[in-house]
């Protein structure tokens, strides 16, 4: 028997629960640009398509200052407070 010490942070992964899916998009939708090149182009197109297909929703646009760092707390709180859905244009 060999005993070794755990090199990890020993955190048991906690399964994250996903917000219940209602099957439809209504209300306020945030579009988050993480500041990668052409992410805004993708989101412009997405906003256009959403407006065509779901005219009843409100779209709010947000942008991270840089893609290299996590979003600032204030931005995360703004998105959470003002929206029912969020679509993030991730890297590459």
């Amino acid at each position: 028997m060999t005993t070794i010490l755990d090199p990890t942070d020993e955190r048991v992964p906690i399964a994250r629960s996903i917000t219940p899916r209602t099957g439809e998009i209504t209300g306020r939708v945030a579009l988050l640009d993480i500041a990668k090149p052409r992410g805004n182009v993708l989101l412009d197109r997405l906003e256009q398509r959403l407006a065509e297909r779901l005219p009843g929703i409100t779209v709010n646009r947000y942008a991270k200052p840089t893609f290299t760092k996590p979003a600032p707390d204030a931005l995360r709180q703004d998105i959470r407070a003002g929206n029912d859905f969020v679509i993030e244009a991730l890297a590459d």
Partner: protein, 518 residues
């Protein structure tokens, strides 16, 4: 009067004998291969036979206990302390050791080794009915070292004791399992074998630092887990470090876990960046770092293991694993390890750490976030400093994309022969920096994408600019301060190396230096 530790030990039949007993008790530690222990065994038997005071005698090996029992036809049960827990708790240095405890379990008398007069006085005081022919015994015999003093055993005992500095989760690897394969399966490694972090090895690693094992050095991204000195030591063992490397590993982890360095982004970026660690100051020689031939390559334990320990800590403590929050498109070999010292003594210029505000005799580690390198600059023909610095400039301009200007840092490692060419013309580090900026300064129009080459300044942005702006010169680096210069490498060869940065400045990573505990 000191209270003696409570214990419970078994005799060969499995019967338990516990202390404290509630009565005056003699406690004794012996080992079979000690001549003095053998000398006193009949004397101890007499003490037991007197009925004056109960005797709890512990032997330090199971086989040896059996031999002692048979050899001396003992009338008292010799208890088994082969795992040495009780001997360790009693801090036994020499055997035989005899202690007398009062009713409350406090020590009231002790004998170490054999001094006839002392033993006689002890018996007269505590076991007057014991029948011993004192004149037949020698006047004095030294004791022997307790087994707990054996260096290897002592480390195991310290690791297992209740006040051990080790708190990490213990993982038992079954005898049928190969410990190396187990560690691969658990994801503890970078793809190469690691040294099993046994409690003894981790304890030895902790001896390399004066910091408490539970000190939190940093909250380590991306999981923001507490990187305690102990957890760092576990990873340093995995990486193959010696204890004397620990202060460098700790300082490097402090440096990369600052918001300024932004290890979160360095790990996560698809671009594939990694910390490049440069060590300055007296510690370089003390721990045997290589700053000469092959400085950026393999072959030196200190260089290789320190960088690897930092990477493994980020992987295991921070949780940055490829496919998880480590998202490099290609990755790069610096993600295994990249740590080296500056050859300050070979440099005519102020050393990196002195430029960054530290004293020359401080030991310092500086962390740079680099995405590739060392990219070699081959220049065997330049005879002037200006020419050579110009060659450096063009090599640096290749970073990321020749037409990508104004974005990042560079770390230039100048080899000794190139140093000589530069210093013949008394070129300072700033002269090199200024020349690099001058040679790489190009009109924005030349940095724009065209039909043959993409990247650089987007064509539509250039077209929207007024004509005079398009002709404005833009050097490779936002500031000459983004060019970091050190000296290292062997005496032979006109080759220098450039590490290319990642996203520079506030939006990415800024180099960070930390003083190393001396």
């Amino acid at each position: 009067m000191a209270a003696l530790p409570a214990f419970s030990l078994a005799d060969p039949s499995g019967a338990d004998f516990a202390f404290p007993t509630g009565a005056r008790t003699a406690i004794c530690f012996v080992k079979e291969d000690c001549p003095t222990c053998n000398l006193v065994m009949p004397v101890l038997d007499a003490l037991h036979g007197s009925g004056d005071v109960p005797l709890l005698a512990a032997g330090q090996t199971t086989d040896g206990n059996a031999i002692l029992r048979e050899r001396h036809a003992l009338g008292f049960p010799l208890l088994d302390d082969a795992i040495l827990k009780v001997s360790f708790a009693y801090d036994v240095e020499t055997v035989p050791l005899v202690l007398l405890a009062d009713e409350e379990g406090n020590e009231v008398d002790r004998l170490v080794g054999f001094d006839r007069a002392e033993w006689q006085a002890f018996y007269q005081a505590h076991a007057p009915n014991a029948e011993v022919d004192w004149e037949a015994l020698p006047k004095w015999r030294p004791g022997c070292g307790s087994l707990t003093q054996d260096p290897i055993i002592a480390e195991r005992l310290r690791a297992e004791s209740e006040n051990s500095p080790l708190r990490a989760r213990r993982i038992e690897v079954a005898p049928s399992d190969d410990v190396h394969e187990f560690m691969f399966d658990q994801g503890f490694t970078d793809g190469l074998p690691v040294v099993p972090p046994t409690p003894e090895r981790v304890l030895r690693m902790l001896s390399g630092t004066t910091r408490d094992s539970q000190d939190v050095v940093a909250e380590m991204p991306p999981n923001y887990a507490p990187a305690t000195v102990e957890k760092i030591a576990v990873n340093a063992v995995l990486a193959g470090c010696k204890p004397e490397y620990m202060p460098v590993v700790i300082a490097a982890i402090e440096a990369i876990c600052t918001k300024t360095f932004n290890i979160h982004g360095v790990n996560a970026t698809t671009m594939g960046a990694s910390p490049v660690l440069v060590v300055n100051g007296p510690i370089r020689e003390r721990i045997g770092m290589n700053m000469r031939l092959g400085v950026l390559g393999q072959g030196t334990r200190a260089n290789a293991a320190i960088g690897r320990a930092v990477r493994l800590a980020v992987r295991n403590i921070g949780g940055a694993k490829p496919g998880g929050t480590e998202r490099s498109t290609l990755g790069n070999p610096m993600k295994f390890t990249m740590c080296f010292p500056e050859w300050e003594e070979r440099s005519p210029w102020p050393a990196l750490h002195v430029e960054r505000g530290f004293a020359p005799d401080d030991s310092v580690v500086t962390a740079f976030a680099m995405s590739s390198g060392p990219a070699l600059c081959v220049d065997q023909s330049s005879r002037t400093a200006k020419q050579l610095a110009g060659s450096f400039a063009l090599s640096m301009e290749a970073a990321h994309h020749v037409r990508a200007h104004n974005s990042s840092d560079a770390l230039l490692v100048v080899s000794p022969e190139h140093v000589d060419t530069l210093w013949r013309d008394r070129f300072t580090k700033d002269d090199i920096r200024e020349h690099v900026q001058k040679v790489t300064a190009r009109p924005l129009a030349e940095l724009a994408a065209d039909e043959n080459v993409g990247g650089g300044v987007p064509r539509e942005r250039l077209d929207a600019m007024p004509a005079e702006r398009r002709e404005r010169l833009m050097p490779k680096f936002a500031s000459k301060d983004n060019i970091h210069i050190i000296v290292a490498g062997s005496e032979a060869g006109k080759f220098s190396g450039v590490f290319h940065g990642w996203a520079g400045g506030e939006i990415g990573s800024i180099p960070v230096s930390r003083k190393i505990e001396s």
